[in-house]
């Protein structure tokens, strides 16, 4: 029995079968991106042990199919087993061994990356300083209280906990929160005073000027979901302090600016500004003699250093809209390390600092203030070096193997030609 299992895991037949499944998986996982979106398709097809057919899938989705994790792990087992069984050091075999160890390194490295890497975004205007980066997909409900001019106390609840009807609390908060509804994606609408409006969706905060309603989640690469949640705040004695609406639309200066620009076209600059200000108004909950602001905002990852955007450069080729060069000049300040230096970040030239890598990602302009705006992609990936090493090792291994056989082949031909 063990013998049979051993034989199964060391066989080339398994390798070929796995590679065959791999080809089909990668192909299906690619065309699935058309309707599932890049992110969802990736997760479903490559970051799972099994892909199971769901209702609403196109005809070509098989009832069940091995996912990326299953194939990757089986390939690893297959590689290890085959090596344990057949490994012996000869020059003949050296190339194959080297190639396979490189492939193992790549597979393991990719697995590590998959589990440990984290992507976030740091975006700012020229002159602004950031000590945190924000998630691009994960949201949190945060309650913020100013302790003094420089410090805030923050209590944050990750969005996945915000399910309808759930009641949340924290020792630091003098109140509890009942989630009335959570919409993963939503749209705002201004409650113009002259129009006939439905009653506001909450009785406190910005809802008297702004409505929000749920819309279907988007899967497009260039769009993002903007959640909104309606919350009831319950005081220490169980009495209701009112309902508030927390929305992604109200917490992000970029979104507010977008809203303002949209209104500028129809109602002019000044009115649009006042409409946008109503969306941006901080929402405060008073309880236990303290004022807490509430916001639904991207999850924040704080750093022990700060980054200030000094200057943005956005060059285009003459007479065209084709971008030629994006770059951000920033000041990196780390008080504890006594570091303060200027760094230039541009396309294909990231900054690597404290295990994080900062990439030039988006670039724009703050029309109001007439200053540049820049978005840096911040990535933590402890496994980032493995592809470099893996590529080198596999490349060397293959070169060795093929050259070894090529020279053998040529000398054999020479001898045959000579004898003939």
């Amino acid at each position: 029995m063990t013998n049979a299992i051993w034989k199964f895991f060391t066989s080339l037949r398994l390798t070929v079968t796995l590679l065959g499944f791999g080809v089909v998986l990668v192909f299906l996982g690619t065309i699935a991106q058309v309707h599932e979106g890049l992110w969802d398709a990736q997760t479903r097809w490559f970051r799972h042990v099994l892909v199971v057919r769901e209702a609403g899938d196109p005809w070509w989705v098989p009832p069940i199919f091995p996912g990326g994790y299953l194939l990757g792990i089986l390939l690893l087992l297959n590689l290890f087993a085959a090596h344990i069984k057949r490994f012996k050091f000869t020059w003949r075999q050296a190339g194959i061994n080297l190639t396979h160890s490189g492939v193992i390194l790549l597979l393991v490295g990719q697995l590590v990356t998959d589990m440990l890497s984290r992507e976030s975004v740091m975006s700012f205007r020229e002159g602004e300083t950031r000590t945190f980066s924000e998630a691009s997909r994960e949201w949190e409900l945060s309650f913020i209280r100013s302790i003094d001019d420089k410090q805030d106390e923050v209590v944050a609840v990750p969005a996945p906990l915000l399910r309808d009807g759930v009641e949340l609390g924290d020792a630091k908060l003098p109140f509890r929160v009942r989630v009335k509804s959570y919409w993963p994606n939503s749209e705002p609408a201004f409650r113009a005073p002259m129009q006939k409006n439905d009653p506001p969706i909450s009785d406190k905060g910005i809802a008297k000027d702004w409505d929000f309603h749920a819309i279907p989640e988007t899967k497009k690469m260039d769009e993002r979901n903007n959640p909104t949640s309606i919350l009831e705040v319950v005081g220490a004695k169980g009495e209701s302090l009112g309902t508030w609406v927390a929305s992604a639309w109200a917490s992000d200066p970029m979104m507010i600016e977008g809203v303002k620009n949209a209104y500028t076209r129809t109602v002019g600059k000044e009115v649009a500004q006042s409409i946008a200000d109503k969306l941006a108004t901080p929402q405060e909950i008073e309880a236990g003699g303290l004022k807490w602001r509430v916001a639904l905002r991207p999850e924040r990852y704080y750093k022990d250093f700060s980054v200030t955007l000094l200057k943005t450069t956005h060059d285009k080729y003459p007479g065209t809209e084709i971008p030629k060069d994006f770059r951000s000049r920033v000041r990196l300040e780390n008080k504890s390390a006594g570091e303060s230096r200027e760094v230039e970040i541009w396309m294909n030239n990231p900054l690597r600092y404290q295990g994080l890598t900062f990439y030039q990602s988006t670039m724009g302009k703050d029309e109001m203030r007439d200053v540049g705006r820049s978005g840096l992609q911040v990535v933590r990936n402890p496994g980032w070096l493995t592809p470099y090493a893996g590529c080198l090792i596999v490349g060397l291994g293959m070169c060795w193997q093929f050259l070894y056989h090529l020279t053998g082949f040529i000398s054999k031909r020479r001898t045959t030609a000579a004898t003939a």
Binding site: R13, T30, L38, Y317, P318, G319, M347, N348, C399
Partner: protein, 642 residues
């Protein structure tokens, strides 16, 4: 004598190709078309001669680099691209009668009330139409274009796509007509002179009007009328044709302006640039049919550029020469000849060795022409060989030719040459069709603007494509010769198997290293090594497939024909990775979408599957191998040795 024929043939072809590296001299008493066409402009973000602007525009309008001015007549009346651009920019009224818009969709012809069939009386061949013929129904076209523009490209029907394409070319046409002079100018040099003299009185009138005093209404109106039409010219965003050098009183470096912008600046007190007055003299002389005056104006303008814009003049001269050389078109002809010679050799391999040698030499000339074109492009662009889909086609063909010739050097059985010439021919045809969308030397957007990664990742992965295609085509040779002819003897079959195996090893190495380097590039620019993006997955598919073939071979799971079948499927996988993923229109890599190509890709895939099915048919149905004993399995040792 016969022994020397191959070299002689190669020498003749080489002379023919080399002899075409020249720009035809302009005849002395006519317009110096080619000298004019060498003048530098900035279009698509790069310096180029007017000649390139002319050719690329004509390609976009009617898929050709020349123009038949009377396609309805029995005798063609051909204009070169440069001659046509001269009319467009300096005599638009004449240009408006030229049938330059190619329209194929019958509903679109119906919408514009155009003749559907060849009709000499209506001055139409039923395919190409002039601005004059389009103009009465422009409004209807605009309405349809607005409607189609509101839709996503993926959901537009063929009619709407045709409308969008035509609407785009209408925009291009208007741009071109306003490149050097306002489209409605009659005698531009004289009008420009009047504009210069109207500036002072016009400005004085404007100042007076602003401060509420009496002012010269006529002077102000005259100036405003000109400024309005110049502003409209600039708004069209055509090519930048006016170089402004560094000179005293300016704090900027040299820069290039549109003619409209340059004309507006003069009203603000800037001195007119030589290009403004130079092109005006050319325009009036051209319209008046005064060739000597035109030629003198061209020479004077060139001379004025010589000191400060010498680099651009050299570059545009070189590019014009390249345009006339047409190395890839000539290469296509030479490779066809090489392929035919090699095929003829197969008919009688024992007697006709001279044909094989001729094929090899012709193929080497083809490679030389191909290489010169490739290198020339690299120098013009200042880039590694592959920068877009077009150049990838050129480069895949180039790599395949070299691999084929290497195989030929080893085996001397004509197979290598056939592979070289067939793949080169096919890839050059593909490149030709890709070039129809216009400028193939476009600038690289910021993320791609890195010669290091273009030279490593892109070149290596493209060589991986080449090698996989070569292996696939070798396998096709095996199947076609084996199934349809009796020419595939055992030694040839064996040599083909070895070739396929060797090339697959090479392909695996290159596609693997290329793919991982691509990941590393992505890690450098976006912060993730692997994002399961469509193009990345396409590359991974090639690696996985090649690895599968090699492992299946090592494990003895496939023998000769199995190997061939798998290698042919490699063509499908590679074609998908190269073209198919662009058709998905998703992901960070999707730069170009093309629907016509989709049908071709499907046709290609179908043909490959058919060949694979042939490979699976029992040997008794094959014309080769009949009556030969077939080994039941590979000997154990053979599998391990492979």
């Amino acid at each position: 004598m016969i022994r020397r024929l191959p070299l002689l043939l190669a020498a003749v072809l080489a002379l023919w190709a080399a002899g075409s590296i020249r720009v035809p001299a302009d005849k002395p008493d006519t317009f110096a078309v080619n000298e004019w066409a060498r003048l530098p402009v900035v279009s698509n973000g790069r310096f180029q001669p007017l000649d390139s602007l002319a050719r690329n525009s004509l390609l976009q309008l009617r898929d050709k680099q020349t123009l038949n001015a009377e396609p309805w007549a029995d005798k063609a009346k051909m204009l070169t691209a440069a001659e046509w651009l001269m009319e467009m920019t300096m005599n638009p009224q004449l240009a408006d009668t030229r049938p330059v818009f190619r329209i194929d969709h019958p509903d679109l012809k119906g919408l514009l009330a155009l003749p559907l069939e060849k009709d000499a009386a209506a001055k139409s061949d039923g395919k190409h139409y002039s601005w004059q013929q389009l103009q009465p129904k422009l409004e209807a076209l605009q309405t349809e274009a607005k409607r189609a523009a509101a839709k996503d490209d993926a959901v537009r029907n063929p009619f709407e796509k045709a409308v969008m394409k035509l609407w785009g070319t209408v925009g291009l046409y208007m741009k071109l007509q306003n490149t050097l002079q306002p489209q409605n100018a009659q005698d531009w040099n004289a009008e420009l002179g009047r504009y210069f003299t109207s500036i002072e009185p016009g400005r004085a009138a404007a100042i007076a009007q602003n401060s509420g005093k009496d002012y010269d209404k006529a002077a102000l109106e005259a100036l405003m009328k000109d400024l309005q039409r110049f502003d409209a010219m600039g708004q069209l965003e055509g090519a930048l044709v006016v170089p402004v050098g560094k000179h005293e009183g300016h704090d900027h470096d040299e820069q290039w302006l549109r003619m409209g912008e340059a004309l507006m600046q003069i009203a603000r007190g800037e001195p007119p640039a030589p290009a403004v007055t130079g092109y005006a003299k050319m325009a009036s002389a051209y319209k008046a049919g005064n060739a000597p005056a035109f030629n003198e104006a061209v020479r004077d303008y060139r001379a004025s550029l010589a000191s400060e814009f010498g680099r651009q003049l050299n570059k545009t001269k070189s590019e014009q020469l390249f345009n006339f050389f047409e190395p890839f078109y000539k290469g296509m002809i030479i490779f066809t000849l090489a392929g035919l010679l090699a095929l003829a050799f197969w008919a009688r391999p024992a007697q006709w060795e001279v044909l094989r040698r001729a094929a090899v030499w012709v193929c080497i000339v083809g490679l030389a022409v191909h290489t010169s074109g490739l290198v020339w492009r690299m120098v013009l662009e200042g880039r590694p060989p592959v920068t877009n889909l077009y150049s990838s086609a050129i480069f895949i063909g180039w790599g395949a030719v070299i691999l084929g010739l290497v195989l030929e050097a080893f085996w001397k059985n004509g197979i290598g040459v056939v592979i070289s010439s067939v793949t080169a021919f096919i890839t050059l045809i593909i490149a030709h069709h890709l070039s129809l969308s216009g400028d193939t030397m476009e600038m690289m957007r910021a993320v791609l603007d890195t010669n290091f990664w273009l030279a490593t990742h892109v070149v290596i992965i493209t060589l991986g494509y080449s090698a996989t295609f070569v292996a696939g085509f070798l396998a096709i040779v095996f199947i076609v010769r084996g199934f349809f002819t009796s020419s595939l003897d055992q030694p040839t079959a064996k040599s083909l198997t070895k070739m396929v195996y060797g090339i697959l090893c090479f392909a695996t190495l290159f596609s693997f290293v290329g793919t991982v380097l691509g990941g590393i590039w992505a890690d450098q620019s976006w912060g993730r090594f692997w994002g399961w993006d469509a193009k990345e997955n396409g590359a991974l598919l090639i690696v996985l497939w090649n690895a599968l073939i090699l492992h299946a071979r090592w494990g003895g799971l496939v023998r000769e024909r199995g190997l061939m079948g798998l290698a042919i499927f490699g063509n499908v996988v590679t074609a998908w990775s190269w073209f198919g993923v662009n058709m998905l229109g998703i992901g960070l890599h999707s730069y170009g979408f093309m629907d016509q190509a989709f049908m071709w890709l499907m046709g290609f895939n179908a043909s490959q599957v058919l060949l694979i099915l042939l490979a699976c048919l029992p040997l008794r149905l094959w014309r080769s191998f009949r009556g030969l004993p077939v080994p039941a399995t590979l000997p154990k040792g053979a599998a391990a040795a492979a």
